[in-house]
Amino acid sequence: MNDACFQLKGSAVSIIVLELYQFSDASFTEQLRDKVQQAPQFFQQSPVVISLEKMPADHSPDFVARLEICRTFHLQPLALRAVPVHLLDAARETGLAIIPATGRSSTPLETERDAPQAEVIVKKVVEEKQVRKPSKVITRPVRSGQQVYAEGGDLIVLSQVSEGAEVLADGDIHIYGTLRGRALAGVKGDTDANIFCHTLSAELVAIAGNFILSDALRKQRWQQSAHIHLDGDSLHVAEL
């Protein structure tokens, strides 16, 4: 097993960009309220990037007040984009990330290298859960020459498995018809895997690499329902 605590990954996330054109607290609040009311669900706790790209250079917005307004509408400002040089200090004080303008060669960030880097906070958003892989369900007969493999889970065949066909699973195999072909359960080494079949007439059954051929099977529950499991190193054919 790998014991690393984390992995850094690049990821593209689509995000709302609030593009500022001009500043006037009253109309900003009003227009934002209108927008949010159109789709309150959509804006609820939505991360948002505030872009200053389209703003006339002589404007000097009050970032703190603006962010407050956004937050009252349940938006979550994440970052400021394309901050002009004269506003960089004010922008840093907000504690938000500062992103260079899109498609511009010279970014204001590069001009002040000695300035302290904006703090990057990485939050673990997605919790890893152990989810079971769904079983693979086959409804039609598995014919001679066909092979079906249920990777990482169980295989359920609602019909028969013909002679010359092969069914494999990392987990259990259930066959609700006649098994005439080969069935291999626990192919990645799971010794707890089982094979269940309605009528046993198999060429070969195997669990975690331990197999029996039809000659040996004929002495045990041949043409009857069967539950095959591993007992130590040997396969055991039991009544179903």
Binding site: R140, R143, S144, G145, Q146, S162, E163, A165, G177, T178
Partner: protein, 270 residues
């Protein structure tokens, strides 16, 4: 819209061409405009079984290569109205069939015909795959013996995975089992698989059981589809199969060996 029926088996010599000729003739006799196409390029047989070998000028491959029109290549059957044959080429091989070419020819035929019967070559290679690719219905011809049954099972798998209907995830190809060369006496003696054995292994509906009959060989050699031999059991069995294909429900016949009469037993006759 024409229905495309493939007659297939996997194994050779089980009676695909005999069946194609009989079913095609039966459908035409029932009033449907029918064409039978020989897909066995290089091993042309259908024309012999249907008795039109001397009238073959252009063939299926010529039409695919646009060296001849469909009307030039189609042979009208002399005995049965509504019946046409599109023969295979004897001088080419299966590579002459392209999926696109076959598709164009079938589309053109579908405009005027009710049924298109594709007589598949043996095997599971290109020729057989071309014959079954466009099918709506499959008649899987099987002899009551283990190797034929296993090959039929294989071809059913290919129908499920490689036909156009499978690729487009449309409704699957309708599968029918046609058991040919069935000999009830040998089944009773345990030398042959029974109908229920084969049905059990293949798990598809039974279209018909054609008894082993001298009439089949006689019909093949004389170039007359056996279905036209009304007096023979094989001819009647094929006729039943055609009626079932058209939706009629008929009981299966010729499943049991005829009881020997007193004199026959006494004299040891067959």
């Amino acid at each position: 819209m024409a229905k495309i029926i493939v007659v297939t088996s996997g194994k050779g010599g089980v009676g695909k061409t005999t069946t194609s000729a009989a079913i095609g003739t039966g459908l035409a006799l029932s009033g449907f405009k029918t064409v039978v196409i020989d897909f066995d390029v290089g091993l042309r047989n259908l024309d012999l079984i249907m008795g039109c070998e001397r009238r073959v000028v252009y063939d299926f491959v010529n039409v695919i290569k646009q060296e001849a029109t469909l009307n030039q290549a189609l042979i009208k059957d002399k005995r049965t109205d509504n019946l046409f044959i599109l023969p295979a080429s004897q001088t080419r091989d299966k590579d002459a069939l392209t999926q696109e070419g076959v598709g164009i020819v079938l589309d053109e035929l579908a405009e005027t015909f009710d049924y298109i019967i594709c007589d598949s070559p043996a095997g599971i290679e290109k020729g057989a795959q071309m014959a079954l690719y466009f099918a709506d219905v499959a008649i899987v011809t099987t002899n009551p013996e283990v190797s034929s049954v296993r090959d039929s099972d294989r071809i059913l798998g290919i129908l499920q995975s490689k036909s156009r209907r499978a690729e487009k995830a449309d409704e699957p190809v309708q599968e029918h089992l046609l058991l040919t060369r069935y000999n009830p006496a040998r089944v009773d003696a345990g030398e042959m698989l029974s109908v229920s054995d084969v049905e059990d292994i293949l798990a598809i509906p039974l279209l018909g059981v054609i008894p082993e009959s001298e009439a089949v060989l006689k019909a093949s050699n004389s170039g007359t589809p056996v279905i036209l031999d009304n007096a023979s059991d094989a001819g009647q069995a094929y006729d039943d199969a055609v009626q079932r294909l058209l939706g009629k429900e008929l009981e299966h016949r010729f499943l049991h060996a005829p009881k020997k009469g007193f004199f026959q037993r006494f004299l040891g006759g067959k």
